[in-house]
Symmetry: D2
Subunit: 202 residues, 4 copies
């Protein structure tokens, strides 16, 4: 395999990128200036340098945000209200945090399980979440995963891991409420959604 083909292979691992676009990326780079190439290469090689992964919630944060291994949310005492929101990934965190509606903490799992996953244990590390439940006074763990087969599978699996802890550490497990959302057409909406929306009407 020559260099072009090898780079194509690497690009094919990018999310949403198939063989055609991977090849187009390679030719795109061949046409770009040496300056661009060099800056891109350097930025990629250094991407982890400026960024830390929070030891408690797993999210990536910029070094400048906090000067220890905890992100500025996990090290913020005023957000210790006993509540943890379980999210999949950083962009989910960014979307919710900027809304200013969540005063508790977060826990990111990184990536929802694939439907075909045989060994969830190897993909999702709950160590710091369980440690928190055992050592801090956690009152509620709330799931905010996407409502698709992967998200639901992941939630079910994590719930199974947490349930045995409830009797010793007394906390609730909850999940985001269902209801109608932007674009909902009543004619085509499923029963679970309509039922929840009726129950939560106001």
């Amino acid at each position: 395999m020559n260099k072009k083909e090898r780079l194509e292979e690497l690009f094919k691992e990018f999310p949403g990128i198939g063989p055609r676009q991977a090849k187009r990326f390679v030719y795109f780079l061949l046409w770009k200036s040496p300056n661009y190439i060099q800056e891109l290469s350097k930025s990629i090689s250094e991407i982890k340098q400026g960024v830390r992964r929070c030891q408690e919630c797993n999210r990536y944060f910029d070094q400048s945000e906090s000067n220890n291994n905890l992100c500025n949310i996990c090290s913020n005492k005023s957000r210790e209200n006993g509540q943890i929101l379980i999210l999949e990934k950083n962009p989910d965190f960014e979307n919710i945090e900027k809304m200013n509606i969540w005063g508790g903490k977060y826990f990111l799992i990184g990536k929802n399980l694939k439907i075909t996953e045989k060994d969830p244990q190897s993909k999702i590390n709950l160590f710091s979440l369980i440690k928190k439940i055992k050592e801090e006074k956690i009152k509620e763990v709330t799931f905010a995963l996407s409502l698709n087969p992967e998200g639901e599978l992941t939630m079910d699996w994590i719930k199974e891991q947490l349930l045995p802890l409830i009797k010793d550490y007394d906390f609730k497990i909850t999940e985001l409420g269902r209801g109608i959302s932007l674009g909902t057409e009543v004619e085509y909406t499923d029963k679970i959604t309509i039922e929840a929306a009726l129950n939560n009407r106001k």
Copy 2:
């Protein structure tokens, strides 16, 4: 305009049908058997014969369902629980009624207002709804319109008409609860939805 062109014009009024498909419909009919043509023509001319519009809730129902001008839901005493669900149209009704989760009555407005509508009064007839509020003991009117600009405009306009009645007839106006629904991706969900879903978590 010849007969083919005239029929094309009529088909162009069908929902979702443009000029190309209207023309295709005409040629489709030219190729169909005289039996099919005759049955289609007859079914269309008689479509209103077998069907009544309920004088209270506006929905279309089959004559065989009820032998007066009220549909079998509006004439069902056991569904008089003081609750009315406002829907746009028959298919919305059919979707919800088959779920078996609503024990009250319905009121159908027929068609949501267009964003550009100048004269809502001429499009939506609230007479029988208001009569019901005045004469029966209505405790709650719940909006279940689609969550798009037309549905929201329509809800706002109807609310305006109903609000003045509240002080005399003491009822609540509510709407379907917001929340996450099938397919929701947390990364791209709006604040109103997330906030409601957090409030309704369970």
Copy 3:
């Protein structure tokens, strides 16, 4: 089955119309004025009255176009140049005839064969085409069917029927030339197209 359901069934036979849209059509008609309903019903019942099917080329034409059983092209002596263009359906004919680039005659097959068709004989009637080949001086039969699996299957089947006639009636069988067309992207174009386009370059 009640009247609404029966009409839904009939609409489901329309080209491109599934169950949801068929149901929407029925409710659309329920809301329309009696005048519209009556005119639609009448137009459909009379659709074949104003229209004849040409005994030679199969195409539908308006009665006013010609006062016998031949359309104005089949009865036009100046178009008897020994050439016949095989088309699928009326809209194909209308598209080509308005271009003013074909001086010969046409033959319409009505509808391309489905890929799963077991009995082509029952679907495509070549009687008047074969009669023409035998009785008039036909020099060339040209296929202008759409370039998709159905069109290619249909062309292959008709060719098989016509080939045995060649030794007695001496005519050519041809088909539209391949080449690049609007929107062609060289990167994704197949070999047959590129090869033909190179051969036909000018």
Copy 4:
């Protein structure tokens, strides 16, 4: 701008990549192993090292293909048949060359002109093409650009540059033939295509 944001900016220049996917790429890299990151960075920085641009036809080729500044096609005497095929870009070349239907040479322009381009001269370098026309015995230059507004604009502009050379160097300018291609539906095909397809029928 921090490192993540800077890398996002760089990814946004990739073909077909918008802000959302650029951000997803960054998080994707944060989750990948240091090995992957290092290999990707290195492959990008070296992408031009293994690759040369042919001085005659402009195409990029792997160093191993030829050990001088001409690609293996431009340095292949047996392909000097006086014919040059004008293509836009490498993927177009790869698609055609693997078909084994072109025995002549190629000339790649790199990228079609944008519709809004004010200064084509600065974007397309015809120097080596014109040199070839002047010094070798070129009999025909054939355009094989995509059939969209950019491709047609580019062809027109290059033709203008080449036309003055014809009287001194006696060569033909041709372009790929039009015709029907996979997926063509006769009902919706334009006149130029149908006319060419009729002329090229066989």
